[in-house]
Assembly symmetry: C2
Homo-oligomer: 525 residues x 2
């Protein structure tokens, strides 16, 4: 429990980038928000918190398992683990509404302590919410059940094994991604998994939420990286084999990946890792419009020429990012003929980058892409973790700021893009294609609006429900990489059908008969 | 039910390649088998078969669902669907032991008929064995339960939809792979999935058994190709979404892939397909020894330079294939310095092949590989489906001939190779690496021995158990692409652990409470 974020926003106090000066006029012009009026979150002392309802006997037994100092119920520990980092979470946290905070924070060390805690909580009827980086944006952490404990995995943060020949590493779940990369770098290796939450996300959290990162187009999603895992459940351990591939029945590994703590707690993961890239090259291209850009990306991917990073902004997102960057008239003039910015990136040896880049650039140019040089690539790299930091400033200034995402086939991509944007009237809704697959791609939407301070949560809930309905109606997935949590649970059944949900429930009931594991995520009550 | 195989071996009567003339001296020298003594399978009329025990009322209801002509209980239909094509299966079939044959063969057309048949059989307590190509080599088809019906999917053989932009196709399960490729070729597309059983295997069978094919190193295993599927179970339908990727909870698709008919019947599959390759190039290289070759393949794969096909034979398999091909002294002389044959292949546009091949060949040469030209590539292509045909001739001649396979990490590859071969004393056991992955590879063993005619089944069962124990003890998977069936079921628990098996059982019980779906596969009774 060393590094900790502020309870009301992103990152450590005062750390990270801030909104630039010229954002204020933009907010005024685009959203009608008076950028000079600033409302700050309540102080920790003013947060509303209930007394812990944890039974003293249970508490003593938890202390016996993990050590007294690792069972905390102080205000700071509980408030920080009350919620994740969605817009709705931050609205509530900023307002000091933490009545749903956990009754205690329990920090086990090692698989056996996790197992013992889960058995105890199952016997005692205490709900358990596994806590890694605390970066959920889908309501993965807030439980209505009482009593409940937050199971902080921060002490399980070791790199346990490295196989440099097979390019695999065994890691504990609480290891944060930057620390994992630091430990691997000593072996000349890297995770190659970089979600926007990279600074805080943990290995276990990525696996439990079926995460994808900014270089997943090239390096694969987390489920492509998971070789094996061990999961402690209230009723026993689930450990999968580390074979590179197998035909030994249904994939149990794929049952634990994305299980969001509803079955148990992932206590170790074997991941595929990569050699530390010797070089990186990120650069920009300008495409005539979003449709042309999507088609160029489809051709790249289907020809086996996809870069490791590929992000195509639609017309609005391209314009907004120039506005927020304070771009001059020259940059704006270019945008008249080429309205969409594409950032592409390669990692690896200089030779491999050159070999892969040449035919890809040639294909892009045939699709009418105008090279915009390395500057947009460098700008993207520099700002790739900035958004959640900037959002705190936007919330201070009365802005509704949230993201949502989906994935669909290449044939349906533009239809889904249009349908989601139509479902969000009265907002500024920019979008980019963020991950490419042979059969389709993801769409990542950023929504900005003037906050309705009469009912800010209701304002977003209505917009989010409309966007989610549009996504489901179009046959796209309710989430490409944010996971389900509680926020997406009402739409999960549209993807799985009733029998699909029944099967998830059957699995949960077998691992967790008392129903204590993160109740509510995936719609499993 | 148009094309049908012989009941005692591979393929249509008289079709396919035969053992060459010079095989007889090889069999005599290497195995001590008198190649001139030929024992043929019994005639169909002499096969031992029990009367059908299907209740006449149930039969009438089945006929009402699928049509009277599609419920068969004639000798030929039942005998052909009694077993798959493993060595043990063929021993029993050749001897005319078909007491375990299904009581009837039911051929539904379309999802709704399948659903109705499953509901009826579940109500009536009649076991159901889905039958696609009938090519199981792991005991996927033979059920002890009585009564039981074979659910022949041969009438569900349509290519339903093609999305040329997203490169996906929706296919019915009973479509055989060559027919699927023919239908796709009209759209300029191909499946890109070529197991050795290609001539007979069906789309649904590949998905249900988590298949891999000869070009899966480049094109991915069947689970990488499955975009979505629909599965009829006795208790309802399971249909997964066709998004290219999703973070919406555990993967239900991965629960059906590899389920081997234990949950229900896959009634349609959306697969990723590929443009018909404009060119192919297959060629040979000679490597100093197996360890050097494995290391070269590891470097190729980990550098992102793997060909679409990569098959490295160990020293014995290389020598055996030369012997069986009747190679001359010149070819043998080369083998003194370079003892292992590697066949590699690329598919795609001529430009893409050239672009990918150049750095791969350069890496191979740096690893000491000696180019052996295109002839070994052509020979491999020509013979890629020959083995199961030749096996019938070998069985005629008193040879034990079977294959087994596994996959493990690069670090453990040689250890597993040695352990399996040590577990099979008194046999000729050659091996090749057949599929490459970033973290490891598969090993495919071919076992030849003089058959012990006192107890031929017992002879193989003992060898197979020893090899399986060695695989499990080494932490490798019991099957890389042959599936589990009944033959591998005793070893499945070593991979999944007790809770893993419990979860599979929980899922089965929810879909199939009467336990009628292919009872026994995956150890689910």
């Amino acid at each position: 429990m060393s590094r900790e974020q502020v309870f009301w926003g992103w990152g450590e106090p005062g750390a990270g980038p801030r909104l630039p000066e010229h954002a204020a006029p933009f907010l005024r012009d685009a959203l009608g928000v008076d950028g000079d009026v600033v409302t700050r979150p309540v102080a920790l002392a003013d947060v509303r918190l209930r007394e812990s309802t944890l039974d003293p006997g249970v508490r003593r037994r938890l202390e016996a398992i993990v050590g007294a100092v690792h069972v905390r119920d102080d205000r700071e520990a509980r408030v920080l683990r009350c919620r994740g980092k969605s817009y709705l979470d931050l609205l509530a946290q900023r307002a000091g509404d933490c009545e749903s905070a956990p009754d205690a924070v329990v920090a086990p060390r090692g698989h056996d302590e996790v197992r013992a805690v889960l058995q105890l909580c199952s016997d005692a009827g205490v709900a358990v919410v596994p806590f890694g980086g605390g970066t959920s944006v889908v309501g993965g952490l807030e439980v209505a059940a009482r009593p409940h404990v937050s199971l902080d995995l921060g002490r399980m943060d070791a790199l346990l094994e490295v196989d440099e020949r097979s390019l695999t590493a065994v890691l504990e779940p609480g290891l944060r991604l930057p620390e994992a990369d630091r430990a691997l770098a000593a072996h000349g290796l890297a995770l190659g998994h970089v979600p926007q939450s990279y600074e805080w996300a943990t290995v276990g959290g990525c696996v439990a939420t079926r995460s994808a990162g900014q270089i997943s187009t090239g390096h694969g999603r987390i489920e492509d990286q998971v070789v094996a895992l061990r999961c402690a459940t209230p009723l026993g351990d689930l450990a999968t084999l580390g074979a590179p591939a197998s035909a030994a029945g249904p994939s149990l590994r794929e049952l634990v990946v994305g299980s969001e703590g509803a079955l148990g707690v992932i206590t170790r993961v074997a991941l595929r890792v990569r050699p530390l890239p010797a070089a990186r090259r990120h650069e920009g291209f300008l495409l005539r419009d979003f449709a042309t850009g999507c088609d160029a990306l489809r051709r790249l991917e289907q020809a086996g020429l996809a870069p490791d990073v590929a992000r195509l902004s639609d017309e609005l997102e391209t314009r907004l990012s120039l506005d927020l960057a304070g771009a001059g008239p020259a940059a704006r003039a270019v945008l008249r003929a080429r309205r969409c910015l594409l950032v592409v990136g390669w990692e690896g040896s200089a030779e491999a980058i050159a070999r892969r880049r040449r035919p890809a650039v040639s294909l892009l140019r045939r699709a009418g892409a105008l090279p915009a040089g390395r500057r947009p690539g460098r700008a993207w790299l520099a700002a790739r973790f900035a958004a959640p930091h900037l959002r705190d400033d936007l919330l201070d200034r009365g802005v509704l700021a949230e993201t949502l995402e989906t994935a669909t086939s290449w044939s349906d991509l533009e239809r889904v893009h249009d349908a989601v944007r139509r479902a969000l009237p009265g907002t500024l809704c920019g979008c980019h294609v963020s991950h490419l697959y042979p059969t389709g791609a993801s769409l990542y939407f950023t929504v900005l609006a003037r906050r309705d301070d009469a009912d800010p949560a209701g304002q977003w809930r209505a917009l989010k429900a409309a966007a989610s309905d549009a996504i489901a109606a179009a046959g796209a997935t309710i989430t490409h990489h944010h996971a389900v949590g509680r926020d997406h649970a009402p739409w999960l059944g549209r993807e799985t059908g009733p029998l699909g949900l029944e099967l998830l429930r059957a699995v949960k009931e077998r691992c967790d008969p008392a129903g204590v594991m993160n109740p509510g995520v995936l719609g499993l009550g």
